[in-house]
Symmetry: C2
């Protein structure tokens, strides 16, 4: 297996193509990971959730990490890690433009609908929709590809 670093534009391409990833937040130095839906634009990720541990923790500590990957097989995958910080877009006039923009990106591919429905069922109560952004501070990515021996095995010449 050969591992190479992604260029910044390759990291961006993966973030732009994928819609799901994992977000880690931390409180009292204890990390917590949850799967998320997101929408990307240069410098930002946008997400949607209802109030729960993730939102409470990010409100108390805005540092977060997001990881996305595309896995073909154990030897062939691409992974990007984003470090950044959380910003919530509350239902207040000064955030209305940001909310509109985030929601329009999240409504593509029905992300909004899927996330909303999930929380409705899980919590058995009327959820409060929370829109947030992730300010991207750092992006790093790795790609693995099978080496010659592995390619030969996969092709049946092993």
């Amino acid at each position: 297996m050969l591992i190479s670093r992604l260029k910044p534009e390759e990291c961006e391409q993966l973030l732009a193509r994928l819609r799901t990833g994992r977000l880690a937040c931390a409180r009292d130095n204890k990390p917590y990971i949850v799967p998320i839906y997101f929408a990307y634009e240069p410098g930002f990720l946008y997400g949607f959730a209802t109030l729960g541990r993730k939102i409470e923790w990010m409100r108390s500590n805005r540092f977060i990490c997001v990881q996305v990957d595309e896995v073909v097989s154990r030897n062939e995958w691409t992974s990007v890690i984003v470090n950044g910080w959380y910003e919530e877009f509350p239902e207040r006039p000064e955030f209305s433009e940001k909310r509109r923009h985030a929601r329009s990106l999240l409504e593509k591919d029905h992300l909004w609908q899927a996330g909303y429905a999930a929380y409705q069922v899980r919590d058995q109560r009327q959820p409060t929709p929370i829109l947030y952004g992730v300010h991207i501070e750092e992006m790093t990515g790795l790609r693995s590809s099978p080496d010659h021996a592995e390619r030969a095995i996969m092709a049946g010449f092993g």
Copy 2:
């Protein structure tokens, strides 16, 4: 989309079946996520890495979180989150039995080999193999399944 909580034994079944996941650690309240290979046995996960940010951070703060999932489609997935703490198994006589055990589990499916090769190439140097365990303190899991309307659409009756 309908979301239900997994029973403890269903969480265990997913951990026993999968071999890859994401691990989050934290330092100075900044979280960091990396993909990992792991082996499961009741109460424990075992992993393997070379020295790098993940190991340095876990040495300074043993609290970690591991997330695994099996995704069929956006509406059909299973996800388990493990909270626990890190224990390293250094090359010292008192850890030899734990090292042997961890390595035997990780050698199944060639996990050891894959992880080792990856780091060799990435770091361009002789890596120091580090074996570690995760003491599982808490496991929670969710499963989503399409609701009736979604099933109808998927079946072509929408």
